[in-house]
């Protein structure tokens, strides 16, 4: 069945409808992320927002980016965050304390900021743009990827991830209580040694 070019009654293009739906979904999910009382649900809502955004990417013609969005954000980052939420969840803190007292100031600030940005964007004649949106050519992307800029960039990303992993592991890993002899292990040991069960190294509060 052929889908009409335009949505009946409204006279909108389908794209527009999808854009609105996805955009609305994304914003709603995002809003839920920031105001939701239960942090786990917030995390899940974030996945929804990411997914909606992936849809928008598709709409914008950036299929590769959409794919990456699904893989990296939904597949990796969100999961990571959810794990962290699980790890740090205490006997659920009082719900009223999701926001701190100055939250409304934050709201006003953020709203003004958003309005400013929007105003700025609308009032700008962006140069070099086409009336029609263009499709992202995968080949072009691939060519660029092996061009000078992104070779360097990828290497930097590589180094960055290496650093993040090495450091992150060191920091997140649980260690035995104060024991200078603890240093006897190498980085690898420290990576692999099972976490000590009993004692918890309390922070030395000054």
């Amino acid at each position: 069945m052929a889908i009409p070019q335009e949505i009946p009654l409204l006279g909108w293009a389908w794209d527009d409808l999808i854009f609105l739906l996805l955009g609305g979904l994304m914003l709603a999910a995002a809003l839920f992320v920031v105001i939701g009382r239960d942090i786990i649900r917030s995390g899940l809502a974030m996945i929804v927002a990411f997914a909606a955004l992936a849809g928008i990417y598709v709409l914008a013609g950036a299929v590769i980016v959409a794919a990456a969005q699904v893989l990296i954000y939904i597949g990796a980052i969100s999961v990571l965050i959810l794990f962290a939420i699980m790890l740090t969840q205490t006997k659920a803190g009082p719900a009223s304390l999701v926001f701190h007292r100055q939250a409304w100031v934050g709201f006003v600030t953020a709203a003004v900021l958003a309005l400013l940005i929007i105003a700025a964007i609308i009032n700008t004649q962006w140069p070099g743009r086409e009336a029609e949106r263009v499709a992202f050519s995968t080949i072009e992307v691939a060519q660029l990827l092996f061009g000078p800029l992104y070779v360097v960039s990828l290497q930097v990303i590589g180094v960055m991830l290496t650093a993040a992993v090495i450091g992150g592991v060191f920091l997140a890993k649980r260690e035995d209580a104060h024991d200078p002899g603890d240093r006897a292990g190498s980085s690898l040991d420290r990576l692999t040694r099972p976490p000590a069960a009993a004692s918890e190294p309390g922070g030395s509060r000054q």
Binding site: A13, D15, D16, F19, L20, A30, V33, V34, I39, S42, A49, I56, L59, A60, A62, I64, V65, A68, Q69, I72, Y73, I77, I81, A84, L87, T88, Q89, T90, G93, L97, V98, F99, H100, A103, V105, G106, F107, A111, L113, I117, I118, W126, R129, E130, R133, V134, F136, E140, V141, Q143, Y150, I157, M160, L161, A164, G167, G168, A172, G202, R205
Partner: protein, 103 residues
């Protein structure tokens, strides 16, 4: 509408605003981290928008978005490691209770 650069950018700005609000309002470190992720996504959306409407930028935009995602991943790794470390010390993810150092 979906044919207009401004629409995408406005969407991006709104998302950025929501992220900002979340960052400013939430007490939970992980919630704040999530807010930052939202902001980064807003950025990505803007990048893609520019790419979608500027032929010269298209390829770059896609790659920039990918790189930003990678950065976001690294940032999340680091952030979560720190959150876990402090959680171990303080037993709470609520950052406004971390105020041993002030003034």
């Amino acid at each position: 509408m979906s044919q207009s650069l401004e629409a995408y950018l406005v969407l991006s700005a709104l998302l950025f605003g929501i992220g900002t609000f979340g960052f400013l309002a939430r007490r939970n470190a992980i919630a704040m981290l999530m807010s930052i992720e939202l902001m980064l996504n807003a950025v990505n959306l803007a990048v893609i928008a520019f790419g979608a409407f500027t032929p010269a930028l298209a390829g770059h935009a896609a790659l920039i978005a990918l790189l930003v995602m990678a950065v976001a991943a690294a940032e999340a790794t680091v952030g979560l490691a720190i959150v876990i470390a402090i959680y171990r010390n303080r037993r709470t993810p609520l950052v406004d209770e971390y105020a041993s150092m002030r003034e």
